[in-house]
Symmetry: C2
Subunit: 271 residues, 2 copies
C-alpha cells in the first residue's frame, strides 16, 4: 500500500491496532517501515511511546525483541491484581443459588461461552504460562474448548482438542482408556495421531478439576505421543480432595462448597 | 485512575487499544474523558482521527453512535475483498492431498483450532451478519465451537453450544432427535432449557454443511425454545447436493470435490 506522509498519531494508532489484534506476534520495524514509508529511528521513538502508555494505563505488555529476528509484540497479560479483581467479579457471578443443578453441579455454560469472559479467563490463565517454552495448548471437549482457545489466542499457540470418542474426521487416532479421578469410571480419550508431533511440549487447559483424573489421563496420553505436559491450568478446582492426582497446576478459582439441599454454592478466587 | 496531562498520541493509542480488544462494545466519551481528564470536544477530535486512520489502513470500522446512550465502537469487519483474499489463502492450505482421510473426509482440526485462523473466520462470517438484529450465536459441538466463539466475539454476543448428548451439568434440557441430511441417520441434539429465553433471535454458525440436516435440526430445536434462527453461516458447504434442507445460508468456502482414490481435494472460495 502506497501512502502519503503518515502523521505520528496515525502511526502509533495503527501499530497499536495491529499489535492488539495479533497477540504475541512479532512485527519487525521493517514491516511498519514499509507500511508508513518512514525511517526505523522514527518507529523506535513511536514504540517507546507505545510502551510507556501501555505501562501507564495498565494495558498489558509491549515487548521489543532485539536482533535480526527482532521486532515488537504485544502480550495481553494481566497483573496479579487485575487477575484477582477479575476473579472476584467472576465469583460474584457464580455464587448464585439458581446456578445449582440437580446432582450438585453448577451451571456455568453462560460464563464459559461468553466471548468476553472466556477471553479474560484466557488472559488470566495465559499470564501464568507466558514465560514458559511450549508448542501447543491442549484441552478436552467440550467445555474446555472456549477457554482453551482463548488461552491459545493470548499465547499465540495452536490449540489441540482431545475428543472423548474417536471421530471419522480425525483419521488415524490414538485411543486411551482412563479412570476418572473421583467417580472411578472408565472414560476414553482420543486424539488424531497427526495432531501433535513427537517431542512437543504442551500446556493442558480445562474448565474444572476435581481429583485430577482427566489431567492425569492427558499426561499419560501425551506420553503416547512422546510429548510432555509442562503446565496445567484450570478455571476452577475443588477444595476436596486436597490431594490431586497431579502435583502442579494453576487454578483461578476454588470451589469450596456446593450443597444442593441447602441451596448453597461458594466459589472463591485463588489469588 | 488519576493521571497527569495525557498527550494526544497517548489518548489515541489507548482508545484504539481499548476498542480493538472489545469489539462492538460502546464506550462513551465520558468514560474516556474520566480516564484522560479532558474535554469531550478534544475526544471528538481524537475519534475523528481514529476513524479516518481505520479507513485509510483498512483496519475495520469505527462507528460513532449519537444520543444519550451514544459513544464509539469498533467493528472488526472485513471488506469483501479482504474476505476473498483470506478465503483464497485458506483454500491453499486446505487443498493438500495429505489432508484426505480414509472415508473421504478432510482433516481440518489444525485450521479450525488455530486461534488466528478461527478469529479471521469469525471476522469473515461475522461481517455478513453485522447489521442484523439478534441475541445469540448458536453452534453445535464439537468443531463448530471455535468459529462459533470467534464469531460471537467479533459480534459481541453470547455463544450457546448445543450438545449431541445431554449432560448432567446442563440441568433440565430439551432433547430432540433429527435425521442427518445426507446419511439419514438418527442424531440427537440437547440444550439446557435456560440457555435461550423465549422470543430470542439467533444466528447458527457451523464448520460444515452437506445436505443441511443439522441446520434444519437447529431451526426445529429453536422452535421448541420459541426462538428463531435469523441467519445461518458455515465455513464450508459441499457443492452437492445443490438443494440443501434450508433455504438461506452464508458459506465462505465450497467443497467441490474430495476423491480418496485419486487423492484429490478441491475447495474454492465462495466469493
Amino acid at each position: 500500500m502506497k501512502v502519503n506522509r503518515v502523521h505520528k498519531n496515525e502511526r502509533i494508532g495503527t501499530i497499536i491496532k495491529v499489535l492488539t489484534e495479533n497477540p504475541q506476534k512479532i512485527y519487525t520495524l521493517n514491516q511498519f517501515g514499509d507500511m508508513f514509508q518512514c525511517a526505523k529511528s522514527t518507529l523506535s521513538e513511536d514504540i517507546d511511546i507505545i510502551k510507556s502508555l501501555f505501562e501507564r494505563f495498565e494495558l498489558g505488555e509491549i515487548e521489543t525483541v532485539a536482533g535480526a529476528a527482532g521486532g515488537v509484540l504485544y502480550k495481553p497479560v494481566m497483573a496479579k491484581e487485575q487477575i484477582k479483581d477479575f476473579c472476584i467479579e467472576l465469583c460474584g457471578n457464580i455464587n448464585q443459588t439458581d446456578r445449582i443443578i440437580p446432582g450438585g453441579y453448577i451451571y456455568l455454560n453462560d460464563i464459559l461461552y461468553s466471548p468476553d469472559v472466556s477471553y479474560n479467563i484466557g488472559r488470566a490463565l495465559g499470564s501464568f504460562f507466558q514465560n514458559q517454552t511450549f508448542d501447543y495448548i491442549v484441552t478436552i471437549e467440550t467445555k474446555g474448548i472456549p477457554i482453551g482457545l482463548m488461552t491459545a489466542r493470548v499465547l499465540n499457540k495452536p490449540l489441540v482438542v482431545i475428543r472423548k470418542e474417536g471421530k471419522l474426521t480425525d483419521g488415524t487416532a490414538i485411543h486411551m482408556n482412563y479412570l476418572s479421578g473421583s467417580s472411578k469410571r472408565i472414560q476414553t480419550m482420543s486424539l488424531a495421531k497427526r495432531a501433535i508431533p513427537k517431542g512437543s511440549k504442551v500446556i493442558f487447559i480445562d474448565d474444572f478439576m476435581k481429583a485430577g483424573g482427566t489431567a492425569r489421563g492427558v499426561i499419560d496420553l501425551m506420553k503416547e505421543f512422546e510429548a510432555e505436559v509442562v503446565g496445567v491450568g484450570v478455571l476452577m478446582a475443588t477444595k476436596e480432595p486436597e490431594e490431586k492426582l497431579i502435583e502442579e497446576y494453576v487454578n483461578l478459582l476454588i470451589l469450596e462448597k456446593v450443597d444442593e439441599e441447602k441451596k448453597e454454592v461458594f466459589v472463591q478466587s485463588y489469588l
